[in-house]
């Protein structure tokens, strides 16, 4: 296990793992921001 390249530690072995990794984590950040922004900004409006 110690002889494995460092990128295996991230869960990346092949090229398609890079794509999957980015989709999961970058996508997760985008989704979180989306929910936060769209979910919270209406509260900033002067309602009710």
């Amino acid at each position: 296990m110690n002889n494995n390249p460092w990128w295996w530690k991230l869960g990346i072995r092949e090229k398609k793992d890079i794509a999957a990794f980015l989709v999961i984590f970058i996508g997760g950040i985008v989704a979180a921001l989306f929910l936060a922004l769209f979910g919270v900004w209406p509260f900033l409006l002067p309602y009710p």
Binding site: L10, A32, L35, F38, W41, Y47
Partner: protein
């Protein structure tokens, strides 16, 4: 408005499980085997069974031992352990070593070499020659774990069928500990931990995910007297019950299909919190996504096949957490956009704390359960875990895109 109500319902649901998982305690069941009786099972068996040579005669050992068991252990059920194995030469020896080291000796093991093209059969054969309780079955043709399990179950002679994956590690007291549950339950699911949590970030997060799932959902369901989910490995079922429900369906998630059948027939499935089976998690991002897409597709298939039953009782919604949570997220995204677009024209108001409190409880619950089930230092993974859980939504898209599931089997040997 709709989005707000939906988020609140989902949030309260999650929060309920988060708190219940922390507070509720599972009732310990009494071990039915006394020390004296234990000796009567273990002692003669270990004396006779301990192999001296690798290539000992099989029949010469098996007959007297079977006779001893019949005389001395009439009330102690026999386990038939099924290990479906497709190209598992890297890991098969470990689990066979673990099974031979079990403190409860009344069992038989079937290694089902299913469409194997590597050395799995050769390696398992060495063990079969050493111990008559290990048997090898060769199977080729139709793919699917259920096909292999059904083939193994046909040959089984035991009272309880146990299912393990070839990559599993099984602690020595597992079979002995599980016996007590069968006084109350028809099937039992044991706890699962990753055997390779430190291999990669993905396997680490998968381990924390299953820790939270076990602590929050499985334990809570068990404590509330609701059937727990079967996990496809570390599961034990009475053979007669399995026969009555018609064995496994060749579904992508044969475990969830069996769970649905058992539940429909009012059989009870318990949770063995004191038995931990170590399972190798897929450590690479793409294969993990593909595996999750397969799980989700299987869950949806089973859900649709059993929809009438699941909708009969509102409590059954507990059984559909995975599919509903994923659909729920997409509905939330959609409604959120609709709501935001409608805000300038349509006054709506839900206090911010109603939105935030369930979410905060859920996140705190996740953190608390990680500390409880694993260790405090794992808390640093919580932010990553929350991002990682987003992969279910990608897997949801993936389940429509993957057309051929024949090559969806997860590779093992990364530890």
């Amino acid at each position: 408005m709709f989005a707000g109500v939906l988020v609140t319902i989902v949030g309260v649901f999650w929060a309920f499980y988060a708190i219940a998982g922390l507070i509720l305690k599972t009732k310990p069941l009494k071990d039915p085997i006394g020390t004296k009786q234990k000796l009567s099972i273990i002692f003669p068996a270990t004396l006779i069974l301990k192999p001296k040579k690798l290539d000992g005669p099989k029949i010469g050992i098996s007959l007297p031992v079977t006779f001893v068991f019949k005389l001395r252990t009439p009330d102690y059920p026999k386990f038939s352990i099924l290990i479906p194995a497709k190209n598992e030469e890297k890991v098969i020896e470990n689990i066979l070593d673990d099974l031979l080291a079990q403190t409860y000796k009344n069992f038989e093991v079937f290694v089902i070499c299913h469409n194997c093209t590597d050395g799995t059969f050769r390696k398992a054969e060495r063990y079969a020659k050493r111990d008559y309780r290990i048997r090898l079955l060769l199977l080729s043709g139709q793919e699917g774990k259920a096909v292999a399990l059904n083939y193994g179950a046909k040959h089984a002679t035991g009272d309880i069928i146990a299912v393990f994956d070839a990559d599993n590690r099984v602690p020595p007291s597992s079979l002995e500990k599980v016996l007590k549950y069968f006084s109350k339950y028809d099937a039992v699911q044991s706890r699962i931990e990753a055997s390779n949590a430190n291999f990669s970030l993905i396997s680490k997060l998968a381990d924390l995910e299953i820790a939270v799932f076990s602590e929050m959902f499985q334990k809570t369901r068990h404590a509330l007297g609701i059937n727990v989910g079967l996990g496809g490995t570390g599961e034990f079922i009475r053979r007669e019950v399995l026969e009555k429900v018609g064995y496994w369906d060749n579904n992508l998630t044969e475990d969830f299909a069996l769970f649905a059948k058992l539940t429909r027939h009012n059989y009870k499935i318990g949770w063995a919190h004191d038995i931990t089976i170590y399972d190798e998690k897929t450590p690479f991002a793409y294969s993990m996504l593909k595996q999750r897409a397969r799980w989700l597709r299987g869950h949806f298939d089973v859900m649709l096949n059993n929809l009438r039953y699941f909708l009969k009782d509102p409590l059954n919604v507990h059984y559909l957490i995975a599919p509903l949570a994923v659909i729920g997220y997409y509905v939330i995204y959609f409604l959120w956009v609709l709501t935001v677009l409608s805000v300038p024209f349509n006054a709506w108001y839900i206090p911010l704390w109603v939105w935030l409190l369930p979410s905060a409880t859920f996140f705190t619950g996740i953190a608390a359960q990680i500390v409880k089930a694993r260790k405090v230092s794992d808390l640093i993974y919580v932010p990553l875990l929350l991002l990682y859980l987003y992969h279910w939504q990608i897997a949801f898209i993936g389940m429509f895109m993957i057309k051929n599931w024949n090559n969806a089997k997860t590779q093992h040997g990364f530890r």
